[in-house]
Symmetry: D2
Subunit: 306 residues, 4 copies
């Protein structure tokens, strides 16, 4: 935990203030507000604010004068229906705002999700902090042989130690030179911050406020909590999945059933499935599926392991 | 006031529920929550939920660990600076959700603002209500001679009466036939709702949940609370301006100073202004401005009337 | 065909102009440019302009210095891969612009797709044309008993005739009164166009220029060419599917295989499929699926009819 | 110029292909297609494709069946009107696509413009190139004393040399270690590319395809070709301004008059201007303007220098 005492005091002070509100309120999420959930070695997410809940989804779907909710099982059924049929607009009626600290190379993937609001700490305006990401040895993996954008086995210990050493010493040197270029406070030949920052490496941490609606949050999670996502962004997405469960449990359950645990089967894959159910022989060659698609399909149809 | 007793009871029930929250809360807006503000003859806006406040703007601009606010005049100065330099992202950190009842022809203008979330009452799924907009006689104006998309003088009384008569009888007949096509409850030859609705006129009311962020709300207001906007949407925007003042008073003040009360002067217009300040003679012909631009500029430079 | 002679002459003149270009060009789409494809009784779509092709998708996916394309089967494989894994950004590199004439109630569904650019004919600025949609008798269907937002059987002939009579006479009367309110050219008591238009019924035609990228076009088509879409918008989507096939045949094929012909199976549905393949007994009650989900799943797993 | 011979050959080959088209075509832009315009030490922009022209703006504003254009001065008048009154949708009907090579720290500013389509070279999938940005000595400036996000005087020669030396040696070392971590082709202990890239510094070049519409291009240019923008992104914006002039000269002229050369005057600033024109004494203290606003206003009102 690398938050300064001052930061911790500020966050604790935020959490102390209680107000009365007539707004839709979620107790389980209130309990998480402002608290950092640590991710990677120095990163975190923390929920700063939210609007709405499962009830707001239901209320919007029914365009209601009142709260719109009925019995829990009717609300769950409606939410499942909306999720299944991709009626996305009621989910857009809820909003959540995070404060996130994350390595720059992760920020560069994250920012590609355009339907969100972002305020990032400015390296033009302020001095960047001296904090960078170093993977745990277990995360130092070789380039995957089969997947051009993935990882394979963990590095052997010697090689891992060498890599960590390089990452650490280059990041330290970059920061020392960053500081030298900026100069001491009051140095009249101190390089502009907007220039000096270019010397930092991509594993330096930045931070931002990030706000999005529930639909776009789930879209983000479906891509970034997925096994194909890079580990360093996936751990953020996994932390946010827990937030989602606290915030909107019915929506979370529907999301797990109809998105995260679901599979999209193509026209050709469906033909294979129908033949398998009919007990007919099937083969990759005859199916029209590529080898990769075939093996993906077989993985989906395999019984989950005990 | 045409809300049914049932609707009023539902809205009152919503307003009764109080919860404790650690979120940023605005007392003046809490007092308005759920209450309909009537607009036109049967329309309304009412605030259903909100996230953030002036403080959230400041907090995001400073990417703060705590509340981020300082003294009121420092916060006001920062908000003015952001508004003046069009640093829009901190304003995106606040969100508001309205329930709006409005004529369909107004909804068609409104929906052109794309950066918003919308759930509209569905005429495929439900029967449309029997409520349509009739202008007050003072609003029945002739086509403007000078502005192809505007109004001129009010109609003479006889003509106005004739127009109102036509609007009313056509809307009533359309609804009677809409009902006839749908048939009574249980009519096995009742036309599908998705088809029958095409017989309604564009002054029928619809309703929706509409949610947007503070930046996009101000963009909407700058266009729709403007004198060039059609009266029937402008009255909604004016009602929302009052909501903005209650919600985020520093932002509202900055918005009035730097947007609603401001003028954009082109390069040529600035040259005219500089010459006028220098006491030089200026003329439309020599200025390079069109006649229309010239008269717009002169209107801006005219002292406000006592 | 209700286009005036003047309109036809203008469209023909557009199609006559040939230029030399170094841009990516698609012959099959060039042949369709500017030609109206008639939809419903008076509507149409016509392609006004386009940017890119299958090659541009491939080029962007490879961030290439040149055209980026290789052999057709390699390009097809890449496009299939992108579609399957929802790598959507390369498809955003192509753009298409349509001129569309459509009933207002269809326009109100269409405009909900926000990631598009739109310029609509203005009823504030211009007089609306005297053209409205009347369904063919075969399209006049009763409200579905099982689906609250759908149609069932076709109306009986007498009832259909009555409905058509009402739709026609109300639309005619609305327009006659619209004209009366506007007054003759030069009438100094002519009602402002922005007001008079509210008397028109929702089946009146409007028109717009509509521009979107290939990814968002496919998103639109996946929702609007779907069997659940209202017939009156589906016919527009179907006409656009033909345009897509001419424009980007590899993308079109991938879209048909991986989207239009595909099915999303939930976690519970996959468990049922695995059990069926294993020859185990399955039942709706034990599956955790609702009755509706169960019947949707069974429909998907049923062999296509001969 | 650091493009490889292979890249140059590919770009030249692209430029050789000519096709016949019936689309709106702009000769001056055709001549620029595919050609790199060099920016900074190793960066470039080049136009890959475009859709529309000044004519398309006019055509969309008139929702025309034909080309929609009339006399040049009528078209210019319409375009000026649209620009002045912020009728932005007709400008959205034109689209342009660039291939851009730029330092990562510039890419991080650029990507904040969300209404655009982007495909970036992937450091997960491919090895990053060995090219980084080194400022020219004239661009190495001290931190501004008056503006927290700006530059002041140029560094003294010794200090500049020291800074350049640090930037160069750190970037070289980072790349050498990046390569070492990746290992030689076929190294079974080569670190995954998605990890190794984190060792690169923020001045390394990346590249992307970037596509946007004419309205959003101008929004980008109004912020990034502005004197407040960081030099390293401003030079890209300035190169794109030249492209805009070739592509849509009437729009470019209107943009220069009504945006780049214009000033937004607040309600209080307008009061000052009115008083100055009336020959009254004005002062910052009495005006209600802050010192900074006052000096900005005086700068705007100062006659341009001879």
């Amino acid at each position: 935990m690398t938050l300064t005492n001052e930061h911790q005091a500020e966050m604790a002070a935020q959490a102390q203030v209680h107000s009365a509100t007539r707004r839709d309120t979620v107790e389980a999420l209130e309990a998480m507000l402002y608290q950092p959930i640590m991710v990677l070695d120095h990163g975190f997410i923390r929920v700063i604010d939210y609007m709405g809940s499962d009830s707001a989804v239901v209320q919007a779907a029914r365009v209601s004068y009142g709260r719109g909710t009925r019995k829990v099982n009717e609300d769950a059924g409606l939410i499942n229906y909306l999720m299944r049929h991709r009626h996305t607009t009621p989910f857009e009626m809820c909003e959540i705002k995070f404060h996130v600290k994350l390595p720059i190379f992760v920020a560069r993937q994250w920012i590609r999700h355009r339907t969100a609001n972002v305020n990032e700490y400015s390296g033009r305006y302020s001095v960047m902090e001296h904090e960078f990401y170093l993977p745990e040895p277990a995360q130092l993996a070789v380039q995957s042989a089969s997947n051009r954008q993935g990882r394979g086995q963990t590095l052997e210990a010697d090689r891992a130690a060498r890599v960590l050493g390089l990452l650490k010493s280059d990041a330290e040197r970059a920061y020392a030179h960053y500081q030298e270029m900026l100069g001491e406070e009051g140095d009249e030949q101190g390089l502009a911050r907007e220039l000096a920052r270019m010397n930092l490496t991509l594993n330096y941490y930045t931070q931002w406020y990030w706000k999005t609606d529930l639909h776009n949050l789930m879209h983000f999670l479906s891509l970034r909590a997925d096994a194909h996502a890079q580990y360093e962004i996936r751990v953020y997405a996994e932390a946010m999945l827990n937030v989602l469960r606290a915030w909107a449990p019915l929506t979370h359950q529907a999301f797990m059933d109809y998105r995260m645990g679901a599979a999209q089967l193509s026209a050709k894959a469906l033909a294979v499935v129908r033949a398998m159910i009919a007990g007919e022989a099937v083969s990759q060659e005859a199916s029209g599926l590529s080898k990769r698609e075939w093996s993906e399909l077989m993985a989906v149809l395999q019984p989950a392991e005990a």
